[in-house]
């Protein structure tokens, strides 16, 4: 799960990753600390899932804040790019109108370009992170509707139901709980939309009498 915390102080309480190692669950928190030695059984899985569910709900509530952060990072990126272009223009223009020597103008313009590029790099990285978080929140929101889940499960069990779905997404449907939040990082809204698209196509074909030879559940 992406780190969906808004404050640094929440990070030690936010489970980011659930792994199975040596027959035990290993939980990695958003601050990097790991909880080890948790028995690998269904009861513990349910408990971990319930904590992840609460985290997901908090993430959904914070959606607007992540969107705002992403927009702000975009604005900063724009300013940074402008600073870089401005730096180059400034150096060139300054050398014409002022009495300063060329080296000073190059240093002034170069500084602007340097700080602009550093700022652009940092803001773009943050923007990408927030974008990924938003994508995960969107997937979680999408799967909140029980009817959508039922439709996805029904279509996934049909032949050709998973056509066009990523291999990561296909693997989820081999598991007992395809919507288990332990595997949330493998869940993508696009895959689910593809499955629902397949449902429409398959239903349309079936209506016209076009069915696979064995139109049975997998």
């Amino acid at each position: 799960m992406k780190d969906l915390t808004l404050k640094k102080s929440e990070r030690p309480r936010f489970i980011k990753k659930v792994e199975v190692k040596g027959g035990t669950y290993v939980l990695t928190y958003a601050d990097g600390n790991k909880f080890t030695g948790i028995e690998y059984n269904d009861e513990n899985k349910k408990k971990i899932e319930s904590v992840l569910k609460k985290q997901a709900e908090l993430g959904i509530i914070s959606r607007r804040s992540f969107k705002l952060r992403k927009t702000l990072c975009g604005v900063v990126s724009g300013f940074s790019a402008a600073m870089m272009i401005g730096g180059a223009t400034f150096a060139e223009g300054l050398s014409r109108i002022s009495t300063l020597d060329t080296t000073s103008c190059v240093i002034a313009g170069g500084s602007l370009i340097f700080f602009g590029s550093v700022s652009l790099f940092i803001s773009q990285q943050k923007r990408t992170k927030n974008k990924e978080k938003l994508e995960q929140i969107d997937t979680l929101c999408f799967l909140q509707d029980p009817q959508t889940r039922t439709d996805i499960l029904e279509t996934a069990s049909l032949p050709n139901g998973l056509t066009g779905v990523s291999s990561q997404g296909k693997k989820l449907f081999d598991k007992a709980d395809p919507f288990g939040l332990i595997d949330v990082d493998s869940m993508h809204k696009e895959d689910y939309q593809t499955i629902l698209g397949n449902q429409r196509v398959l239903t349309g074909l079936a209506g016209e009498g076009i069915k696979p030879t064995q139109y049975i559940k997998k």
Binding site: P12, R13, G23, T24, Y25, L27, Y29, D31, N33, K34, F35, T36, G37, I38, E39, N41, E43, N44, K47, I48, V51
Partner: protein
């Protein structure tokens, strides 16, 4: 324990307990007096711990005063230092515009004095900050709090995020937490409490090896258990 006593209380406020080379205990009070020759045994340590816990409880009640002092000194430090820096800048500008040694010197002396004052105020703020940190630790250790901390330390993952060195220091300090209060870092206690909260929230079962590798649980100053 840091000195939280007012002038009147200083003669009764213990700030340190020292184990001397001859095996006796020396009690150091806030007014600087040292009382030597106390026996180093369980009864004595229990009594001193009790006295220090009582001191701790009264300090916790006065937490607001230290928080206020920390904020006030920090703000004053920022204001005075800024004024000092501005004064020096004004001096530099004065020197560039129309050099007037008297005025420039005046600006610079005022600026330097203000920056010095700011640094002193910052010192007071930092001192109060460290006191507030220790008060937070004492808040967690008074009453049943210390047993709660000991229980968390005894559970699997209870000490996650604490380095082995700090872990050893905390384990040793938890025998008599108020006597060893100066060696307990606020961040370490906070970390242990978060681990306890995480364990409680998860409510999962652990493997036998995880349970046996967790540190022993210390209950109510039972020295044999440590």
């Amino acid at each position: 324990m840091k000195d939280y006593a007012s002038e009147k209380e200083k003669e009764k406020f213990i700030t340190n307990v020292v184990l001397e080379e001859d095996g006796t205990l020396t009690l150091v009070f806030a007014d600087g007096k040292k009382y030597r020759g106390f026996p180093h045994n369980k009864e004595m340590l229990d009594s001193v711990e009790k006295k220090l816990e009582k001191q701790g409880k009264s300090v916790v009640k006065k937490k607001g005063k230290f928080v206020l002092a920390q904020t006030f000194c920090g703000t004053v430090s920022g204001l005075i230092t800024s004024a000092g820096a501005l004064s020096i800048l004004a001096g530099v500008q004065q020197n560039l515009q129309s050099p007037n040694p008297g005025k420039v010197l005046g600006f610079c002396i005022f600026g330097a004095a203000a920056i010095l004052g700011g640094a002193v105020s910052l010192g007071f703020s930092l001192e109060n900050r460290s006191k507030v940190g220790q008060i937070k630790v004492m808040e967690h250790l008074t009453g049943e709090g210390k047993n709660h901390i000991r229980e968390i330390m005894g559970t699997p993952n209870g000490m996650v995020g604490v380095s082995s060195k700090k872990r050893k220091i905390l384990e040793a300090a938890m025998e008599y937490p108020f006597i060893s209060i100066d060696s307990i870092q606020p961040k370490v206690i906070e970390r242990v409490i978060i681990n306890g909260e995480n364990n409680q929230r998860l409510g999962v079962s652990y493997t036998d090896s995880a349970l046996t590798s967790a540190p022993k649980v210390f209950i109510k100053n039972n020295r044999e258990g440590i």
